[in-house]
Every structure is written in structure tokens, then in C-alpha cells.
Amino acid sequence: MTSGRCGWVRDRLSDPGAKYLLEHEKEEVHLHLESCGECRAFEEVVSRMTAVALRLEPAPASALEDRRIIHAAMEGRLPGRSLKREFSIRWVVAAAAALLVGAALFAMWPSDSQMARPRPVPAVAAERDGRDDASTPTVKSASIPEVSTAAEIVFDEKGVPLTLPAGDRIVGIPGTRMHIDVLTPSRVVLRLLHGKIVARVDGTDRSRTFTVMGRHLTAEVHGTVFSVESTPDTPDRVRVLEGVVKVVDRDLNPAGWMLHDRQEFTFAASSPVMAQKADLRTDARLAGLLPAMTPGEQVQPRFPEAAEAADGSVSPADRMARAARELRGQKRYGEAKAAYEALIAQFGSTTAGRNALVALAQLEFSTLRDPTAAERHFNAYLQADPDGWLADEAWIGLVRIYAENGQHGRVEETTRTYLRRQKEGTFAPEMIRRRGDALSAAGNCAAAVEYYRTVIDRWTLSREAGAAANGLAACGARVD
């Protein structure tokens, strides 16, 4: 128990200016310390801590992470997960703009008889409704070969799926209205105006992007089956039946949340809610109407030339990338490698050029068995575009290379860096499992078991859970 004198002494001991105490005060402190064990212990902590504190440092980050932050500082790019200061200001501005637009629309809104809503048409052969203005033709739901950019789709008949030229399939509940903003072989952007759709997307070509925009949310799809719902009365909702979907809110979280199998994401009035196990019965019934897509199936666009011409934006770099992909598909690996290298040499600073780095690295690692070159190209991609679309691929590529080479320290460092940024990333299960492997190889089985169990608990039915169970068994831990 401390006396009143102890408090006085400890105040003096804690004060950084105590060296300026008067002589009689120093004497008094000294005498008290001789007689009070607790204050002596306190003084020991003070003196040791004062000596140590100036040298305390957080764990250093990797050189790559430092490079990424410096790059972001130069570009003025804030992290995706940060809730920016501009957030509230932007909402106020957005609300004011919405009010103005709403008032203007209300004043100009035609009467019911004048309203030209898209008219559902029975599902037979494809046809366009030329009643609306030419830029937004309304197309009925069906397999529509000539569906193209700026078309508005109305799903009027439950159970008739829409097949896009690249093979993606979509079905909507009756009354669902959807607008096709972009439709090229490499990029699809759909805007869900009202209702609900379930989509099955071909994920074999990882350079493709498939995006569905709701009122608040944007779902970027990585080859998967998923549903998006957006109606005025209910919050936007995304559910994942298979695979992975990145859900993005441009204001709250531009970097996005990763959703895996059976996860549901609901967003209403800036309050995101994520459910780990969604009730998928309704969506599964709808998805059952979609034809299955076998792995590797790639439906050729029926009008590639038309798409290219209509788009008018297929750059030489994109053409070279496509040629390289085709060569790779034909198993002409040497030529594919040369094509990728030419693309990188000519268009290294473009997105296609950067993406080619990853494609080339994957080819070198998995097919040409040249891990050194693959590592160099993965690293080059991460240096050039650390937050790029293919960053996940590059990270996992590096980890696989290190794991194959038995460089457990580097596996540990790389997985740590990845998991620090992307705890729910596409490759999080594999990263966590491989981190467990690295720890296990380093003899730290206790920590490895924690990682293995995390994978098994969170991704129970995945392939990684099986690998983690093997790791657990190798560590001598019990597998439940």
C-alpha cells in the first residue's frame, strides 16, 4: 500500500524534469527509496524504461511495402480501407446534388400515359424494341446473339436465361431491369436498375472483368455464381453461391470486400453488413436454371470483329495480349513467351503490358519451369502496380515459387505482407495454409497449428482445408 509520501516521490520519479530537483528534494527521494521497496521497484522500471523507450521500434516492414507506401504518397492515393475525411463532405455534396436532380426530374416527369417504360416482350427470337431512343434499345430476355452495349434488358419470364457473347449467363426474377454499359470480350459492365439477377460467369480468363453495379454497390466478379439485388425498397444485396466476388463501395471502401462461397453482403445507408452463411435457397433455385459451365469452357464471341469495331478501343497492346493468349492456348509456349516479352517491351507501361508480366511469369513458372524468371516478373508487376487487378496472382505466384524452392523464410515474409493487406483476399486460404507450412518447416508447430486450424474453420469445404488438415497431421495435432 502506498503512503502519501510514495505518491509525492513517484511524481518526482516520473517527471522528466526531475533532474532539476532541489538538493533537499533529492535527499528526501533518496531516503524514501531506501525505506520503501515498492517505490524502489517503481524507480527501477522508470530508469530501465527510460533507457529502453527511445530505442523501441515497431517491426520493420518489407522493402516492397515501403516502396508501395512511397508510391502511394507520390500519387496521393489513400488506402482502400481508410474512411477518408472527404467521406462526409462527399456525402453532403452527393445528397445536395441528388436533391437538385430529384427536384428537376419531378418537375419534368411525364404523366403515366406518356411514360415510355421498357415493354417486356415474350421470349422468342431476339429483337430490339426501337420504340425508345436509339441509344437505349430494350431487348427481351432470351439468348440474344446481337445484344450489345447500351441495351436495356427486361426479364419478363422467369427461367429464361440470357447468354452474353462471351458465354456468361444471367437470369433475373420477373420485372428485373438491367442495362448493359460495356460489352467487349475483355470487359462486361452491367447496371442493375431494378430487381434481382443471378449470374454464372466464366472465370477461366483472369484478365476479363465482369462487373455488376447496383445503386450503392459494385460487384466485381472473379469467375463465379452470384446474385445481386437492387430495389428502391430494400438495401443492395450480393450473395455468392460459388467462387469469389469483390464488392466495392466507391466512397466507403474503394478497395472492396471479398466475398466467398455462401457469404452475403448487404449495404444500406452507409452501413455494410456481412453475413457469413447466407440463405441461398431462392438463389440456388434460380441458379439451377443456368446451364453449368464446365471448367475451361470458353464460348467464343459470336461477333468479335463487330464488338471490336463497335467498341473501337481495342488497342495494339490488347491485340498483342490476345495473340499471346491464343498461342498459349495452342500450347505454343515458346512463341507465347516471345509474344508476351514483345508486349512488355513495347507497352510495358500500359495495363496490358503490366498484366502480361503476370501472364508471362505464370507461364514461366508452371510450364517452362523457370522460377527465377517468373519471380523477377511477378516482382516487376508488384513494383509497377502494387494495387493492380492481378496483384493477388502475383503474390501467390511468388509464394508458390518460394515454397517450391524450400525458401521457408521468404514464404513466411511474403505471406505476412500479403495477409497484412488482404485478410480476405482471393488467395487468403492458400496464403494462410502456406504460412502454416513455412512455420511448420521452421519447427514452430504450435504457431503452424493455429494457421491450419484457421483455414479449416473458415474454409471448411475448400481444397485448402484438406491441405491444412494434412499439415495438422504432420504437426502431430488432432484433426477433428
Binding site: G17, V45, R48, L54, I69
Partner: protein, 211 residues
């Protein structure tokens, strides 16, 4: 104020190459928008920003985000720097402001993905030398104790203890009177030391580091 700050700051000048990286001409060129100078200055600033965030904000899952926000803010506002001589103090103020505002936002908007504590610890640690382990453990425990202290007292104690600031500088950074800064520092340090003293593991670790 400037004379006092400058005088006391000389004691904390970084040594070696880092000192030259904080040269006035470099800061002036960076403030004028010279890209190469900005990159050089950013590389020089990053370790200090990381240390301030590491100690002031703590080894949380979004620590790197705070470092990034702080760096972006520093280099976004660099043109507003009035004198290159006061760069370091100005930068520290900006970083502390970022830490404080981010901490408040974080408490308002709970993170969707809160990893297990073990994961955070592992995410911010390095393998595996003996000294490094003790050092890391000291760091984590220090942060745990610091988080139990009120914000103002914590900041004052950290500035004084871990960065060697004197009262007038702390007052300047925190925007309060020197007297208030002195009281906050004293109470913050006392509270921290009391907490550390009651943590036997910490006392043992300290004894290992400083026998």
C-alpha cells in the same frame, strides 16, 4: 518557440545518411514539387513516420493504412510548409493529427474484418532472433498498457518518453499551454510506469534488456 524547439531538436537529429536526407535544400525542392526530391524525402521520412504510428497508434491490423494516410497527407500538404527548418516538427504534427483522427474514425466505424489478435501479432512481427523477440514483446506490451491511458496523457507520455520531446514542444504539438503539457506528461508517464510496474512479465523483460 522556434529557438527552444530547434535547440532541443538537435539532440534527436538522425545520424549518418538520414541526416543529409533531411537537408533544407532537399525539403525546399520537394516542396516546390520536384518529383525526385519528393521520392528521396519520402524514403527518408518513412522510418520516422512508421515509428510514430507504430508507437502512437499501435501495432493494429490497419497500421500500414495509417502510415500510408500519414505519408499521403504529409506530401499533399508539403507546399504549405512555411520553413524547411521546421519540417520535422511539422511532419510529426501532421502524423499525430492523422493518428488521432483515424483512431476516432476507427472507433466510430467498426472494421468489418477484425483478425484474431494472434494474427495481428504475427502480422507485425519478425522472425526470430532472441533479442528481437524480447524487443517485440516489450513493444506489444508497452502498447497494451498505453492503450489503457487517456488519449491526451498517452500522447504526451509517448512524445516525452519515446521521442524525447520537451514540454514546450509537446505543448506545440498538442496545441495546449506548456503548463498543461507538463501536467499531461507527468501524469501520463506516472500512470504508464505504474502499469508497467504491476506487469511482472514486463519487469522481467526490462531486466533482461537492461540488467
Amino acid at each position: 518557440m522556434t529557438a527552444t524547439i530547434h535547440q532541443s531538436r538537435t539532440a534527436r537529429e538522425p545520424s549518418g545518411s538520414q541526416k543529409s536526407l533531411f537537408d533544407t535544400p532537399l525539403i525546399e525542392r520537394a516542396a516546390e514539387g520536384d518529383r525526385a526530391a519528393r521520392e528521396q524525402l519520402a524514403a527518408a521520412c518513412l522510418p520516422r513516420v512508421r515509428r510514430i504510428v507504430g508507437i502512437g497508434y499501435g501495432p493494429k491490423d490497419d497500421m500500414d493504412d495509417v502510415v500510408q494516410i500519414a505519408m499521403v497527407t504529409v506530401f499533399r500538404d508539403l507546399s504549405q510548409l512555411r520553413s524547411a527548418a521546421g519540417f520535422r516538427a511539422w511532419m510529426d504534427t501532421v502524423v499525430w493529427n492523422v493518428i488521432r483522427s483515424h483512431g476516432r474514425r476507427r472507433s466510430r466505424f467498426a472494421s468489418l474484418f477484425i483478425p484474431a489478435e494472434q494474427e495481428i501479432v504475427e502480422a507485425h512481427t519478425r522472425p526470430m532472433e532472441e533479442g528481437a523477440i524480447i524487443h517485440r514483446e516489450l513493444f506489444f506490451r508497452l502498447h497494451r498498457h498505453l492503450s489503457g491511458i487517456g488519449e491526451k496523457k498517452r500522447m504526451a507520455a509517448v512524445l516525452s518518453l519515446c521521442f524525447g520531446y520537451v514540454d514546450s514542444e509537446i505543448a506545440d504539438l498538442m496545441g495546449c499551454s506548456v503548463e498543461a503539457a507538463k501536467k499531461r506528461t507527468q501524469h501520463g508517464r506516472r500512470e504508464l510506469f505504474e502499469r508497467l510496474r504491476r506487469d511482472p512479465a514486463y519487469v522481467d523483460l526490462l531486466a533482461e534488456v537492461m540488467p
